[in-house]
């Protein structure tokens, strides 16, 4: 009991083959697309992108990967703490700081712009917490006010700069929508520094970040420096937003904080997985953004990155193994078809029972009569059994069927579950015998071996149900399986 292995949610081999086939298809499609583009101007662009020869492309790709990593990793904490709006505010607050950083030297100096932006972002957050503490204005309103005010100042400054007659002003407007190919080596260096800081911080303080995000009050009583950690997280978040700004633009950078992390949230319910998935999906979105903006020659990077992130979120929403829409529908369908099959099995069992188990084969005509359905419906039902390997047709014209050993086994189990449950309700829960059938109809499909054993013990190994019918015991089922092998 002590050293239980920690189980993962997925059964690995199954998922592996699924994932593998998914990637095979994906690369097939991409490959086809690539071949069909050969010789066109766009194909040339694709070649340039993937050959990695062009230093500008190289820089842009590395930058987008790094910023995806930073934003995904730190954004995950924002999402689980339900602070997405704070992230939004922060990303808009930095804009005036960036512009002031530019005005400082009248050229695009990454360092002054970085510090200007970081200062503006932190100032914005301080304003939020100050107003929240000292007035009765609610947090969402405060966030809205600060976000728009700072952003408006930024826009005013940008418009002013564009009227000025200075050389380095080209590209200042890129801070609104982002342009990855405008990044310099120093920008990438800054991104890399932030990435190293963020990863180190999260790895070192994972345990403290986990508990202080989940239960801040409890953390304080455990001597965990909650405010310090939150402050550090906010600092790093500001840095990552500021460094991402040139590639994504101030308007959309918040999407890179929230969307990959939210998509990851749909795929897992463990924090460490969530952090890894969020970083990975962030990087993927970054790559997609860099690629598509490059294809269309100098399109803004930010919107494409965010569209990529949104597409990833949509995929996770639709196909996520646990919470996805389609897997849920699929599971429900599987469950229904199992119940349908098991009900057919039970009917067949009762028909065989009526012949005192002299016969093995069942005419579908008789099955249809027994279940008060049409012949075609009976054929459909037996086809369902056949798909599950529980039965087969004895002839081409689909008139006679026979259960397989597995089908026989399951039919006995279901009947036993049904009758045991009826007994249990009658004797232990004091139901009237004519009230127990419907309840047993539902529960029979859900009882596992363990519960059935307990039921049998509790009921003192009965052999007849409340209506006087024999209950197949575990022993009967085993022996029946042996006898069932021969053909009668």
């Amino acid at each position: 009991m002590r050293s239980k292995p920690r189980k993962t949610n997925w059964s690995l081999p199954k998922v592996k083959t699924k994932v593998l086939s998914f990637f095979v298809v994906l690369f097939g499609v991409l490959g086809l697309g690539y071949v069909s583009l050969q010789g066109t101007p766009m194909g040339a662009q694709v070649d340039r992108f993937f050959s990695f020869q062009d230093p500008a492309v190289r820089l842009a790709v590395v930058a987008c990967l790094l910023l995806g990593l930073n934003c995904g990793l730190l954004g995950a904490f924002m999402v689980v703490r339900r602070l997405a709006l704070v992230g939004d505010t922060l990303s808009h607050c930095v804009l005036p700081g960036v512009i002031l950083g530019f005005l400082w030297g009248m050229y695009k100096n990454p360092w002054t712009m970085f510090f200007g932006a970081a200062l503006a972002g932190l100032l914005g957050l301080l304003c939020v917490s100050w107003i929240k503490r000292t007035t009765t204005v609610r947090e969402d309103s405060v966030l809205g006010i600060i976000l728009t005010s700072f952003y408006a100042v930024g826009i005013c400054l940008i418009t002013m700069i564009q009227r000025l007659n200075i050389e380095g002003k080209a590209g200042v407007d890129k801070f609104l929508f982002g342009q990855a190919s405008a990044l310099s080596e120093q920008d990438v260096l800054l991104l890399a520094i932030v990435a190293i800081l963020a990863i180190t911080f999260v790895v070192l303080f994972y345990k403290e970040l986990l508990v202080s995000s989940f239960d801040p009050d409890f953390s304080r009583t455990s001597g965990i420096p909650v405010s310090f950690l939150f402050g550090a997280l906010m600092f790093l978040l500001t840095f990552s937003v500021v460094t991402a700004l040139q590639a994504t633009g101030a308007v959309l950078v918040v999407a890179m904080l929230i969307t990959p992390a939210a998509a990851a949230y749909l795929l897992t319910d463990r924090m460490h997985h969530l952090l890894i998935f969020a970083s990975g999906l962030g990087m993927l979105s970054g790559l997609l953004g860099a690629f598509f903006s490059f294809l269309g020659s100098r399109l803004p990077t930010g919107p494409f990155m965010v569209v990529g992130a949104g597409a990833i979120f949509l995929l996770a929403f639709l196909f996520g193994p646990q919470y996805g829409v389609f897997p849920r529908i699929w599971r429900r369908y599987r469950y229904r078809s199992r119940i349908q099959g098991e009900n057919t099995l039970k009917a067949i069992y009762r028909m065989l029972e009526d012949t005192k188990f002299e016969k093995r084969k069942v005419a579908l005509e008789a099955l249809a009569r027994f279940r008060k359905q049409s012949f075609a419906e009976a054929v459909q039902d037996v086809k369902v059994l056949k798909r599950k390997g529980w039965a087969h047709f004895e002839d081409r014209s689909l008139k006679v069927m026979k259960l397989s050993p597995e089908g026989w086994h399951r039919a006995c189990q279901i009947t036993r579950n049904h009758r045991l449950w009826e007994l249990y309700l009658t004797f232990e829960a004091n139901y009237a015998p004519d009230h127990v059938h419907d309840d047993a109809e539902r529960i029979e499909h859900l009882l596992g071996e363990e519960i059935v054993k307990q039921l049998e013990e509790r009921l003192n190994f009965p052999n007849k149900d409340p209506h006087g019918k024999l209950i197949p015991s575990a022993k009967d089922i085993e022996e029946g399986l042996k006898i069932y092998g021969d053909d009668r």
Partner: protein, 264 residues
């Protein structure tokens, strides 16, 4: 206060707490002896949670002081455990039952250090004690209210403290869990731990706790249950708001006198 070991687990002196200049607690004096199972009662807004939060250093007092085992809170941290209100956290948070109980070990580990095998064993032991070991790998949102409360208590157990503060551990739990919790509390008390439990249900308070603290901004009364649990006191705390109280108190008083008649 010269000998450390002899100091009371909890000593509060003239404690006043204000929120936005509104007093929430006023002039509370209290000394709790070791091995007490204290039920803290009072109407909504009486300052029960605030009292606990102030004791544990989450809310700064505007006047007075608190000492735990003769020391300020931050020095006694390893000897004090905490069970917050169940609604105070987001149960959709991506953690498993095991992860949450492991959080109880964090303060013994200190910063940065990772939990080892000893901690994992301790966590499983605590989970076993609350019959939650089978659910260790579940995400906490998939649990019933009673199971969620058990997770919090298992986490508190994992803290291995001498003094526990619990904020409404009985709120919204099923009957079986309520029984399991009160058994656990008694077990802890018998092991010499001190427990300080916020409780809402007047009808069960008398059965569960050996000491009661009645609070309504001021400390109304504190002492052994049989002395504190009187109609007059309850009326003082809850005012005329709960008519049922009179009935409860009378019925209980009758029960008590009958017990006395039967016992010799």
């Amino acid at each position: 206060m010269t000998k450390k070991n002899a100091a009371a687990p909890l000593e509060i002196h003239d404690l006043t707490v204000t929120y936005h200049r509104q007093p929430v607690l006023y002039g509370v004096d209290l000394i709790v002896d070791p091995g007490c199972l204290v039920g803290v009662m009072g109407p909504n807004g009486a300052g029960k949670s605030t009292l606990i939060k102030t004791i544990m250093g989450m809310v700064p007092p505007s006047h007075g002081w608190v000492k735990l085992f003769g020391q300020p809170f931050h020095k006694a941290i390893t000897r004090v455990g905490y069970v917050p209100q169940r609604e105070s956290v987001d149960w959709d948070f991506p953690v498993s039952v095991f992860d949450v109980v492991m959080m109880g070990r964090y303060k013994r580990l200190g910063l940065i250090r990772r939990p080892g095998k000893k901690d994992r064993d301790a966590v499983y032991e605590c989970l076993e004690k609350l019959k939650m070991a089978d659910l260790a790998d579940r995400q906490i949102g998939n649990l019933s209210g009673g199971q969620q409360q058990r997770v919090f208590l298992a986490r508190a157990l994992a803290q291995e403290s001498d003094l526990y503060f619990m904020d409404e551990p009985f709120a919204g739990v099923d009957a079986a869990t309520e029984l399991a919790i009160i058994e656990l509390l008694r077990e802890l008390k018998d092991a010499g731990k001190t427990l300080f439990v916020v409780h809402h249900d007047v009808t069960t308070a008398r059965k569960y706790f050996d000491t009661l603290l009645l609070l309504n901004m001021r400390l109304v009364d504190f002492g052994p249950t049989e002395k504190v649990f009187t109609q007059q006191n309850l009326h003082k705390v809850y005012g005329g708001r709960l008519n049922i109280l009179t009935e409860v108190a009378t019925a209980d008083a009758q029960q008590a006198s009958e017990d006395k008649l039967e016992s010799p």
